[in-house]
């Protein structure tokens, strides 16, 4: 297929052209979209594919952001090294949380994961010595090879490739036996178990993956915002991620990017509605659940575009 390398070349070209052509404001927005999409990608795996509803994504993003920042501020570990280390630790926490799905499912799982978000937020507020408490903490700059990346224009070269790498990897894993197994578990845990799948291990692995992606996202978004405020990492943020996943398409990695773009860019065009933004997002979420439960990525023309990018079989809607 000659189209694939062509599209790939176009993407590379666009990637290097954007910083030359766009002002800082838009580059900052692109970084925000990419970082958010990475967190939402975690939900695509655990909730979209494996069918395990999670409101803990806010907690994982917070742990990634705070963890990497604390490592940098207190121990001088640069962010580029701290983020992956913290992400692996948070993934371990996600795996343990996943063990809970042995006993808890559905609405109760939503509540239990919500509790995780609440607990992490409380810990951030009360562990003042480490986190700066309710006042928050400043994020050390992202330094790489002696250069501090401070603007959106600079962080762009880190956040966008990392997100692209994870999106493509996720897409391939979804098309493989791993994606099949998670999809099967979503549709019938009983049957999946009876066909020899270790359902609990898969669900725990899905939680670990969502925690890992959330932590990386949090770690990358932290230097972009330069300041961490514990008030941000609450229940609203957890629902924000879930809403993006629904609007983009619960089972689609590219949907995570599309949904994030909508939720990051829309406020720019709704300046007049600023105080009603929550309402706009709520209506958007409700509208999608009722009218297009498979999200924007299920729009026919977008699916065709997605199929072009895929070698073997695309993920099922």
């Amino acid at each position: 297929m000659p189209l694939r390398p062509l599209l790939f070349a176009a993407a590379i070209l666009a990637f290097f052209a954007a910083p030359q052509l766009l002002p800082e404001f838009y580059l900052f927005q692109i970084c925000l979209i990419a970082g958010t999409a990475l967190a939402v990608l975690g939900l695509v795996v655990v909730t979209g594919l494996a069918g395990q509803i999670s409101l803990a994504q806010s907690a994982f993003v917070a742990l990634g952001g705070y963890g990497a920042s604390i490592l940098a501020a207190s121990w001088g570990v640069p962010l580029w090294a701290g983020i992956p280390v913290v992400a692996v630790v948070v993934a371990g926490l996600g795996f343990l949380l996943g063990q809970m799905t042995l006993r808890v499912a559905g609405h109760y799982l939503a509540l239990a994961t919500l509790a995780v978000t609440a607990i992490v937020q409380l810990a951030l507020i009360h562990w003042e010595a480490l986190t700066g408490g309710a006042a928050g903490m400043a994020v050390p700059p992202f330094e790489i090879m002696g250069r501090a990346l401070t603007s959106g224009r600079e962080l762009y070269y880190v956040i966008v490739p990392v997100t692209a790498l994870f999106i493509l990897t996720a897409q391939n894993l979804i098309a493989s036996r791993f994606g099949r197994a998670l999809t099967a578990i979503r549709q019938s845990e009983t049957a999946a178990e009876a066909m020899g799948l270790d359902v609990l291990r898969y669900k725990a692995a899905a939680f670990a993956a969502s925690a890992f992606l959330g932590a990386v996202a949090g770690g990358l978004l932290a230097p972009l915002s330069t300041y961490l405020d514990p008030a941000q990492y609450g229940i609203t943020y957890a629902i924000y991620f879930l809403a993006i996943a629904v609007v983009g398409g619960m089972t689609s990695p590219t949907g995570a990017v599309i949904g994030s773009a909508v939720f990051v860019l829309l406020p720019n065009y709704l300046q007049a509605f600023q105080s009603y933004l929550g309402l706009v997002f709520a209506l958007l979420l409700l509208g999608f659940i009722v009218l297009r439960p498979n999200g924007l990525s299920s729009l026919p023309w977008l699916r065709q575009a997605g199929a072009l990018l895929h070698r073997t079989t695309g993920p099922k809607p």
């Binding site: 990897t169 391939n172 894993l173 098309a175 493989s176 036996r177 791993f178 099949r180 197994a181 999809t183 099967a184 549709q187 019938s188 009983t190 049957a191 999946a192 178990e193 009876a194 066909m195 020899g196 799948l197 270790d198 359902v199 070698r311 073997t312 099922k316």
Partner: protein, 262 residues
Amino acid sequence: MTEALLRIENVSVRFGGLVALDSVTLEVAPGSIQAVIGPNGAGKSTLLNVITGLYTASGGSILFRGERIDGRTPHAITRRGIARTFQNTELFGEMTALENVMISLDRFYAYGGVTAAWQGRHYRQIETSARDEARELLALVGLAGDENEAAATLPFGKQRRLEIARALATRPGLLLLDEPAAGLRAAEIDALNRILLDLRAQRQISILVIDHVMPLVMAISDRIAVLNFGRKIAEGTPDAVRRSPDVIAAYLGEKAAHAVGS
């Protein structure tokens, strides 16, 4: 006498005060088709669920190939060689027929996360082999033309056969069938009979079938055990069971009485 493939020994299952299975002993000989029949609520499905690890036995033991399997998780039991179908079909509805079968096969065509992420030639070779075996199994149950249909959109008779293909893909030594003929027409039951007899002949798979549709059970079973209120009340060849006065009273008698009453 050769050692039994599956040996259920004095197995009891209690749900609170209800005794669903009361000290049942049953054997499946290698290469045989064993049936368990009984009226509704006799404990047939409970028996299947306790063998496959969905329920825990409150007493007794279950041995498969001489090894204890009671107390193990369902997936561990499947991996030891016991596959099952479900009474009300438990297919992965949104997935295609082919994918349904591949779920069971993937274990035998394993590759790591890096291989899956890279999707190179090695990956494509393994996936192709898995796909080929899945196609063979679909053809075996007469679903050759339906591989890309979503399981939920298949007609009921085909869903039943897809369940069998999916169970076979776990490469079992023993296949447990939970009322495979329920809701099927006479012609479909005949086709199912042929598939099951072929399986035993060609793949050396033993079968334990529970059902209350007599034509299937009578036509293919080597031995039939009869359950009533959680107890085994009779066992023997189809002819012997058909003539047993206990069975007529408990099973056929009750059914006849029910027919008169309604």
